[in-house]
Structure formats: structure tokens, C-alpha cells
């Protein structure tokens, strides 16, 4: 006698309870607070905000706590929350030229108006484990100076004046919204940038790296990388003008790329662009390289068949929430499909064995008398 398996509901409840306990870990160790995560795991919070497409450090920190530090899971929580939020309207474009910079570096000019500033970077740290941190040592305060009053215009604008850099045209059209309209190809550059900005950091990094290694190489210089705070302004219809509604931290990367010219364009420098929430320069630089690679068509370059040039490939596979969901769904039961495959393979093997046993019989199943004509529309 066989007793049919039951108990999906009980299993789910038990799994959730166990998960909650595992999330807390050893109860004799103090619990992490959301502000601790927000302040001390800021780069994780930044990534969750960027790929979750929602600028809210507290919610991102909560998501990281809830997801036990699994950042893709945290991004998923933020995305699922984000879709339920009403939209009041769109901001006016942020002015990154007016950014209060924490960091500003250029790889193309030794100095530029406004100066270079390293800011809080890992760049020149030696990657040696700091065991003092394990002992919970207090950090001495960093030296402070008065903030400079000099303007920090975009370094790219100096090249612009010489006419050496391919110009960008202003447009007043409302950019498309990937989260409100289905992705249709070919995509415009603003839509591509939107997809890259919320795309998986690892995927975008891999794509960008592939261009550096020769798959649609477009040697990029970092003309400017800046990280800092910008004001967000919004037009209020009742007032008739824009007011500042808050500030956000962003990372912006502009690359300048070699370009030999094509049938349609003279030799000049071209641009790649990356803009990401928070401090995330790996992502911003990667995004700029991939953006540049995807622009081959408008610049009249050759399609080299490189993955980073294929907008369908890049845009359809950059989203880690789509990717992880579909990848992990193969954990779900598939026994109905597997059963049908099982029967098919048994049948095919039976026929193959029968054919092998009687080799004298002619071709057999090799489709000798196919009419090749589809029985389209025939009534069942």
C-alpha cells in the first residue's frame, strides 16, 4: 500500500521558522541593527539601492538584514517593494556638474579646474587584513580642511570646446521607463543606460572586461570619475517652479574612447557614460565601457559579433532578479515533464535496439516515406 506524499503547507511553515532562526544566528552574539548596516556596510547598501532602483538607504539596509547578507535577495526585496509605490512624478534632470564631490579623478589630464581629489578610496590601500578591526579598535578621526569653493565643471567639457569629442544632442523627450513598458528592441541609448544602471554589477563588469580583452575593443580612458552629492529637484505644478526635494549620492563616469572615424563620422573621440546610485565606481566604469560598446551602430562601426555589442544579449541578461529567478526555478518540481521525457527516451531506445537487432531490414525509421507536407488545419 502506498500513501501519497502530502505536507507542502507544513513544510513551508517549518522552513520559514527555521530560516528566521538561522537569520538571527547565535543569540549570544549581539543583533545587528539596521542603522549599523546602513552606516558600516554602506557599499552593500549602495549596491542594493542601485540595482534595486530605489534610493532609500534605510530600506536597503533592512533588506540586507532580512536577506542575511545575500545582496541579490536584498535587491529582490527592494524591487518587489518598489513596484507597489505610487509615482508622484519625475524630477528635473540632476546636474552632476554642480555635484559636491567627495572624489574626483581624471585619467586624461594631470590637473583640471577644480582639482583632483582622491576621497575615501580603497585604491592605494595595501590589501592586508587589518587585525585591529577584529579587536574593535576605535578609528582616529581623519584630518579635515575647509571645502574648496572652486567650481568643478565636467572635464569632458574642455575637450568639447575643441570639438574633438563627438557631440551629444540635447533632447526634451521623456525617457522611456523600463519598469512601466515592456522592453522592445532596438532600444534607444537612454533605455540602454537605464537597463545598465540597474543591471547586475558582476554581469556588467564581465561584459566591460570582455571589451578590454579584445571583444569589440574600444580603448577607454576615464576622462572623469566623480562621486558626491547632488540635489534632486522637482517641478511642483502649484508653484510653477522646481524646488529641491532632497539630495542623493551618485557615482558618474565619463570615458573618452579612441575612434578612427567611419564612413559617416570623422575621426574624433567618442564617449561612454555611467551613472549609478551611491558610491559604486566599479559599476559606473563598467557601465560606461558597455555603453560605448553598444553604440557601434550609431557611430557606424563594424559589428564584430562581440557579446558586448549585442544589445539584445546584454539587455536581456543583465538583470540579476530575472536571471536568478529563472535559474533557481529549476529547483521546482518538473516531474510531469521529466516523466514525458522518460517515456520518450524509453520508446526511442526500444526502437533503436529493435533496429540494431535486425540490421538487415532497410532504413526503418529514417523517415523514408515522409511527405514533408504539414497537416496544417486538419481537424482532430
Amino acid at each position: 500500500m502506498y500513501v501519497a506524499v502530502k505536507g507542502g503547507e507544513r513544510a513551508i511553515d517549518a522552513a520559514h521558522a527555521w530560516l528566521a532562526e538561522e537569520r538571527r544566528g547565535d543569540a549570544s552574539v549581539a543583533e545587528l541593527s539596521v542603522p549599523q548596516i546602513r552606516e558600516q556596510l554602506k557599499l552593500a547598501v549602495n549596491r542594493v539601492m542601485a540595482e534595486g532602483s530605489l534610493y532609500d538607504p534605510d530600506l536597503a539596509a533592512l533588506a540586507i538584514k532580512q536577506s542575511r547578507g545575500d545582496l541579490i535577495e536584498a535587491i529582490f526585496l527592494i524591487r518587489a517593494y518598489r513596484t507597489t509605490l505610487p509615482r508622484f512624478g519625475g524630477s528635473v534632470p540632476i546636474d552632476t556638474g554642480a555635484m559636491t564631490c567627495d572624489r574626483r579623478v581624471s585619467a586624461t589630464f594631470k590637473d583640471a579646474p577644480g582639482g583632483q581629489m582622491l576621497g575615501p578610496t580603497f585604491d592605494y590601500t595595501h590589501r592586508l587584513l587589518d587585525f585591529k578591526l577584529a579587536a574593535e579598535g576605535e578609528v582616529p578621526a581623519a584630518a579635515e580642511v575647509e571645502a574648496g569653493t572652486a567650481q568643478t565643471p565636467h572635464i569632458m567639457s574642455f575637450l568639447d570646446r575643441e570639438g574633438l569629442i563627438q557631440p551629444e544632442t540635447d533632447s526634451d523627450t521623456t525617457p522611456p521607463d523600463l519598469t512601466r513598458t515592456p522592453l522592445e528592441l532596438p532600444a534607444t541609448r537612454d533605455l540602454r543606460l537605464q537597463a545598465l544602471a540597474r543591471g547586475d554589477e558582476g554581469f556588467i563588469l564581465g561584459m566591460a572586461y570582455s571589451t578590454q580583452r579584445g571583444y569589440a575593443r574600444n580603448h577607454a580612458f576615464v576622462a572623469e570619475l566623480r562621486i558626491g552629492t547632488v540635489a534632486v529637484e522637482m517641478d511642483i505644478p502649484e508653484l510653477g517652479f522646481a524646488i529641491e526635494i532632497g539630495e542623493i549620492d551618485v557615482t558618474e563616469c565619463e570615458t573618452v574612447n579612441q575612434f578612427q572615424g567611419s564612413k559617416t563620422q570623422p575621426p574624433q573621440f567618442t564617449r561612454g557614460y555611467g551613472l549609478v546610485f551611491g558610491m559604486s565606481e566599479r559599476k559606473a566604469i563598467s557601465m560606461a565601457l558597455v555603453d560605448r560598446a553598444l553604440r557601434w551602430k550609431e557611430l557606424g562601426e563594424d559589428n564584430l559579433g562581440a557579446p558586448a555589442q549585442d544589445e539584445e544579449f546584454v539587455l536581456y541578461h543583465a538583470d540579476n532578479i530575472q536571471a536568478t529567478g529563472f535559474l533557481e526555478h529549476i529547483k521546482l518540481p518538473h516531474y510531469v515533464d521529466f516523466q514525458s521525457e522518460l517515456e520518450l527516451i524509453r520508446k526511442l531506445r526500444r526502437e533503436a535496439e529493435a533496429n540494431n537487432a535486425a540490421p538487415s531490414e532497410s532504413a526503418g525509421a529514417s523517415g523514408g516515406n515522409l511527405s514533408g507536407k504539414m497537416k496544417e488545419g486538419a481537424a482532430e
Binding site: 500500500m1 502506498y2 500513501v3 501519497a4 506524499v5 502530502k6 505536507g7 507542502g8 503547507e9 513544510a11 513551508i12 524591487r79 518587489a80 518598489r82 513596484t83 507597489t84 505610487p86 519598469t179 512601466r180 513598458t181 515592456p182 528592441l185 532596438p186 539584445e312 536581456y316 532578479i321 530575472q322 529567478g325 529563472f326 535559474l327 533557481e328 526555478h329 521546482l332 518540481p333 518538473h334 516531474y335 510531469v336 515533464d337 516523466q339 514525458s340 521525457e341 522518460l342 517515456e343 520518450l344 520508446k347 526511442l348 526502437e351 525509421a365 529514417s366 523517415g367 516515406n369 515522409l370 511527405s371 514533408g372 507536407k373 504539414m374 497537416k375 496544417e376 488545419g377 482532430e380
Partner: protein, 289 residues
């Protein structure tokens, strides 16, 4: 859950989905792009079906969810609970009592009626996808009704294996126009695609909705000399004795002993309640664990 709108999605979103559904019903088998929302469950786990269900459910509906034909599989439980929580609708395991049925990989054995809606979860809506990976290309092929590639694939199957080597997600042509993926149902279920109920297909990650209106003509692709054949395991259900239902195969002992049972759990238990007993079964009620 009073913080969320009825059935989770806001009314604007539901309206957008309903427009896609109506367009799908007007052009049977055509994949309508829709602005799929991020749901609180992962892509690939039924987000398309869930959004379609959310758009068609009303407070008076009775909802049933099956995965692999069973109401008790974990993801079916999870989706059923989601709508119990967010829509407060009545739920059932009885096929006949449900007005909306969300399914993954099966069509219920019981014949569906005109007052029922069957919602399919679809992983890859494009039947040509594994022949042509580019969406730009496949949309062009559909608009030109260029299905030669699919015919060649089926032909190559026959020349290589002596049979069409597709056992699930078997392609169909709807109303003589669009080739459609019926979702990964076993081909045993294909003949049931011509039915009285409305059939809606939702692919969340791929942002597509398509539909088969009641009694629309749905033909499984085949050749005159290699006609389509709906197949199942050559057994009767070991629990209820049914010979006409799709069967799951279970390994029941260390010696590799097999047992076959209906994949449609409601069909099986209804038969057992009516007194049908299979080779290894006992009347229902005596096996309460």
C-alpha cells in the same frame, strides 16, 4: 494585508494587464508584450500567471492552484496562500468548484466549463526560441508566418529518431495562424487545449501574455504520415485505477520498484472517494498518515 490593493496589484496595473489579455483573446496565439511588474515572488516561479490571475480575479471567485497537477506542491501552496492573503478569495482543490485555476505544467483531467478560466504559468513563451535565440528575429518570423524552421526541426527529429522527439511544450498552431507554445504541459494534454474555458498564458520575466479563446482550433504540429500522438505511461493509476489520466512515476523502494499515480491529485482523490481502487491503493480515508 490591508496595505495592498485587492489581489496585490494596483488597479492601473490590472487594467494594463486586462488590455493585454483582451488583445491576446482577439488575436489567438499572438504574444502580446506587457509591462510585467516585479512581484514578491521570483521570476520563473509563476509571476506571469500570478499577474494574469490578479487581473482576472474578482472577490466572488473561487481559486485553485496546481503545479504538476497537484494542489499540494510547495509552489502551488505558496501562490494559493498569496491570493488568500492579498485577495481574500475562496480557494478550493476541487477542479469543478474553481472559477479560476492557475496551473503549471498540466491541464486538469476533468473537462473544464465555459464559466472557468485556466491561467498558465509560462517560462519561455516563444515556441521558436530554441531554434532562434533572438527575440527580434522570432517576432519577425511570426509576423511573416515563417515557420519553416519549426517544420524542419520536427522533420529532423523524425529522420534521426523515427519520431518527433518533443514530449512536452509541444508546439501548436492556433486558429490556423500563430504557432504557440502551450507552456511545458506534457503532449498528453495537447488535445485538451480545445476547450470551453478561457485559457490565458502569462510569462512574467519575458513580459508576454497570450490567450486561446473558448473552442478555438488548436492543432498540434505534425506530418500526414507521422501524426501527432498524445502519449502517457502505459499503465493504470495504482491508486485509483484510472486508465485515462496522466501518470507520475514514483520510485518506492531500494530495489527500484515503481508505482504509477495520477498527476492530477484532485482527479485521483475524487475517483477514490467514488470507490475506485487501483492495484496498490486502498479506498480513500484508510491511508490517513
Amino acid at each position: 494585508m490591508s496595505d495592498y490593493n485587492f489581489a496585490y496589484l494596483d488597479e492601473q496595473t490590472k487594467r494594463m494587464i486586462r488590455r493585454a489579455i483582451l488583445k491576446g483573446l482577439a488575436i489567438p496565439g499572438y504574444q502580446v508584450p506587457f509591462a510585467s511588474r516585479e512581484m514578491p515572488m521570483p521570476y520563473g516561479w509563476g509571476t506571469g500567471g500570478v499577474q494574469v490571475s490578479a487581473a482576472v480575479l474578482t472577490p466572488d471567485d473561487t481559486f485553485k492552484v496546481i503545479d504538476q497537477g497537484a494542489d499540494d506542491t510547495t509552489n502551488a501552496v505558496s501562490i494559493r496562500r498569496f491570493f488568500e492573503k492579498t485577495a481574500g478569495v475562496a480557494v478550493t482543490e476541487a477542479t469543478a468548484e474553481a472559477s479560476v485555476i492557475q496551473t503549471r505544467h498540466r491541464i486538469p483531467e476533468e473537462v473544464l466549463r465555459a464559466d472557468q478560466i485556466l491561467v498558465y504559468q509560462v517560462p519561455i513563451p516563444e515556441p521558436l526560441r530554441f531554434l532562434e535565440p533572438s527575440e527580434v528575429e522570432t517576432r519577425k518570423m511570426h509576423s511573416l508566418e515563417e515557420y519553416g524552421l519549426m517544420h524542419v526541426k520536427l522533420y529532423e527529429d523524425i529522420s534521426q529518431h523515427g519520431a518527433i522527439a518533443t514530449s512536452y511544450a509541444y508546439p501548436v498552431k492556433v486558429e490556423g495562424r500563430y504557432v504557440m507554445d502551450p507552456s511545458p504541459i506534457p503532449k498528453f494534454d495537447n488535445p485538451k487545449l480545445e476547450m470551453a474555458a478561457i485559457q490565458l498564458f502569462g510569462a512574467g520575466r519575458e513580459q508576454r501574455i497570450y490567450a486561446v479563446p473558448p473552442y478555438a482550433k488548436v492543432v498540434s504540429l505534425d506530418f500526414e504520415d507521422f501524426p501527432f500522438e498524445a502519449s502517457k505511461a502505459d499503465h493504470a493509476c495504482d491508486l485509483c485505477g484510472a486508465e485515462d489520466s496522466y501518470l507520475d512515476e514514483l520510485i518506492v523502494d531500494d530495489a527500484g520498484g515503481r508505482l504509477f499515480m495520477c498527476s492530477d491529485t484532485d482527479y485521483c482523490s475524487t475517483r477514490r472517494k467514488a470507490g475506485h481502487v487501483g492495484a496498490q491503493g486502498v479506498p480513500l480515508g484508510e491511508d490517513a498518515a
